[in-house]
Amino acid sequence: MMTDNTNFNSFQKQRNKEEMKRQLITFVLMIGFTIVAFAIVATGSMQKMFAVPLLLIMAVVQVGFQFYYFMHMKDKGHEFPSLMIYGGVWAAILTIAALVAIVWW
């Protein structure tokens, strides 16, 4: 604990700063995706058949940014968090698929 000298600290600070820069870029991309998504719907410029999958893809990519950059899931030590999130996503896909596809009327 006592060997953390200033050299190391500045190295760490530098790394944190670079990480922050990446996160900022991510944020700009997320805002961009959001604006595009709203624009597609607001202008009505795209057919439903294309618009819906595109909106969903953009949402998934955006959420990926949140998880991997904002929540650091890309970093080391996140194997179990990833496992549990992907497990939850798998259960979520099954649940939604069932409630969308096999609910007869």
Partner: protein, 617 residues
């Protein structure tokens, strides 16, 4: 703060100790007593059901009361008896098996127990208040939304509260296993019971939220006039069925997987052999859990989801037989050539194999969606799930209790009484349920309160009821054994069964800090390795030093009381809005205690090195 002194204490002191404890071993006791209490309750309900069906056109129970009885029997046994009893064993043993001093979240552990206990009591309060839930444990809508009185409201709130407790337990065990394994305890060195605890906790984590949502929707429909299941406003009843079974099917694996772990320990210990195919067992457990998530619609074959959906779910269901078969053969191979001791725990394990295999075979029969149209809603189904739940889960719990009783309470259960209990229970069980396969195939529908005479159903039902009485006698004998053991039982050594895993390296019962020094684990069956290659004692992985312990707290209990009061308020507020006061007061108590917990720092305390040195080994 120290509870190390084991002198005689007054009743008040013991009660306060248990109300405030955050020690995983004491919480295990609480789960055991709580689960045991509900098990007796559920057992009595089962006996009343069987008395009603002992002869044709019996009028022992009225039709309405019979509906309440079957609903409460199912709900109680699954949510309030089987699961808590398993959680008791997990709490008592899993931290010891990985060489930890406690669980990751001791406070949450206590909160989980109290939520379960008070939620369970809330559910059973419905008996006293006059109307119990009566729509079956599955609470299908619109039966459940239209059910008059407050029975279903108790069901919704009781399960919501106790379910939240179970979810906390699951997250707690996951974090414990991930972060608190002793040095050297890699994942592939964990005992199988720890593995199954881990996998079961994952299932709890992913399955219970679906139930939470289903219960919320049902609650909103019943109490606040929403329209999820109201067809006139566009609602859809199938949503409930999906949500319930997305939870409900993983739930049956939550009940069976820990038991697979228990049997793996019992077979290995009493055969004096390493578990055959350890790696295969671990992966089979994961595979069962994975597949278990994708088969829920086999409970809905007759709903009319269409042949494509039915076929997919039928095939997925049958696939589960493969990993389960792997397990059965591995257990048989563990015994092969072993030096077998037939103790009571081993007897249950031996009885489990044929019983569970029969249940598994009828499971594959039911999985065939075409044939299921015939079996559906008949006693064949009742026989099937009692074969897996009693023949699997209950046998497993009893095996686990006989095996780990010395570790939990410091005394060995009486073997003679135990063996008599086993034989009574085993014969009673097969007598009760084997005949029900045929009753079902002959056309007896489940959940009917009477059957007519001269339809060839009389004798079968009589036999079934007599078997149930025999199981009841077995249950009473087990209680006598517990009392006898508590009074006169032989004091247990640290390792009465010549065990293989870490929990047998500490005294029985273990000291409240579990391990003076965290042990160094050198392989699978770590204690056995030390017995064979070392001096039979675990090597410490750290020098003797101060041990950090969490403080006890009454807040989990108060918080749970608050949620329960709010629950009662929710149940009665549709009648009279002044009951909303109870909701506000209850939520105030619960959220207030959460706030206190957040604002007050709790760093725990340290047992000093000197104190530890004074303690005997």
């Amino acid at each position: 703060m120290s509870t190390a002194t084991a002198q005689k204490r007054g009743f008040g002191a013991v009660l306060w100790d248990y109300l405030t404890t955050v020690d995983h071993k004491k919480i295990a006791h609480l789960y055991l007593f709580g689960g045991g209490f509900f098990f007796i309750l559920g057992g009595l309900e089962a006996l009343l059901i069987r008395i009603q069906l002992i002869k044709p056109e019996n009028d022992f129970l009225s039709a309405g009361l019979y509906n309440e009885m079957i609903t409460m029997h199912g709900t109680t046994m699954i949510f309030l008896a089987a699961m808590p009893l398993l959680l008791a064993l997990m709490n008592a043993i899993m931290p010891l098996q990985i060489g930890a001093r406690d669980v990751a979240f001791p406070f949450l552990n206590a909160l989980g127990f109290w939520l379960f206990m008070l939620g369970g009591l809330l559910l059973n309060l419905s008996w006293i208040m006059g109307d119990a839930p009566d729509s079956g444990w599955t609470a299908y809508t619109p039966l459940a939304t239209e059910s008059p009185g407050h029975g279903l409201d108790y069901y919704v709130l009781g399960l919501q509260i106790s379910g939240a407790g179970t979810l906390m337990g699951g997250i707690n065990f996951l974090a414990t296993i991930v972060t608190m394994r002793a040095p050297g305890m890699t994942y592939m060195r964990m005992p199988l019971f720890t593995w199954t605890t881990f996998v079961t906790s994952t299932l709890i984590l992913f399955a219970f939220p679906a139930l939470t949502v289903g219960l919320f929707l049902l609650m909103f429909d019943r109490m606040f006039d929403s329209a999820f299941f109201d067809v006139t406003l566009g609602g859809n009843s199938i949503i409930w069925q999906h949500l319930f079974w997305i939870f409900g099917h993983p739930e049956v694996y939550i009940l069976i997987l820990p038991v697979f772990g228990i049997f793996s320990e019992v077979f290995a210990t009493f055969s004096k052999k390493r578990l055959f195919g350890y790696t295969a067992m671990v992966f089979a457990t994961m595979l069962i859990a994975f597949l278990g998530f994708m088969v829920w619609a086999h409970h809905m074959f007759t709903v009319g989801l269409g042949p494509v959906a039915n076929s997919i779910f039928a095939v997925a269901t049958m696939a589960i037989a493969v990993p389960t078969g792997i397990k059965i053969f591995n257990w048989l191979a563990t015994m092969w050539g072993g030096n077998i001791t037939v103790s009571t725990a081993m007897l249950y394990a031996l009885g489990f194999i044929p019983s569970f295999t029969i249940g598994g075979m009828t499971g594959v029969m039911l999985a065939s969606s075409v044939a299921d149209y015939q079996y559906h809603d008949s006693y064949f189904v009742v026989a099937h799930f009692h074969y897996v739940i009693v023949g699997g889960t209950v046998f497993g719990i009893l095996a686990g209790l006989h095996y780990w009783w010395p570790k939990m309470f410091g005394r060995v259960l009486n073997e003679t009484l135990g063996k008599i209990t086993f034989w009574l229970f085993f014969f009673g069980f097969h007598l009760t349920f084997f005949i029900q396969h045929f009753l079902g195939l002959m056309g007896m529908p489940r959940r009917y309160w009477v059957f007519l005479k001269d339809q060839d159903l009389d004798l079968g039902n009589l036999i079934s009821s007599l078997g149930a009485l025999l199981m009841g006698v077995g249950g009473i004998l087990f209680l006598i054994n517990i009392i006898y053991t508590a009074a006169k039982g032989e004091k247990a050594s640290a390792d009465p069964f010549d065990g293989r895993t870490l929990e047998w390296a500490v005294s029985s019962p273990p000291p409240y800090y579990n391990f003076k020094q965290l042990p160094l684990v050198r392989g699978l069956d770590s204690l056995w390795i030390e017995k064979r290659e070392g001096n039979g004692k675990l090597k410490p992985a750290e020098p003797l030093g101060d041990v950090h312990m969490p403080n006890g707290s009454i807040l989990p209990f108060i918080m749970s009381v608050g949620f329960t009061i709010a629950g009662v308020g929710f149940i009665y507020q549709p009648d009279n809005r002044t009951w909303l006061l109870a909701v506000f007061i209850g939520m105030g108590i619960a959220l207030g205690s959460m706030l206190i917990r957040s604002l007050k720092d709790d760093h725990g305390y340290y047992i000093s090195k000197e104190e530890l040195e004074k303690e005997a080994d």
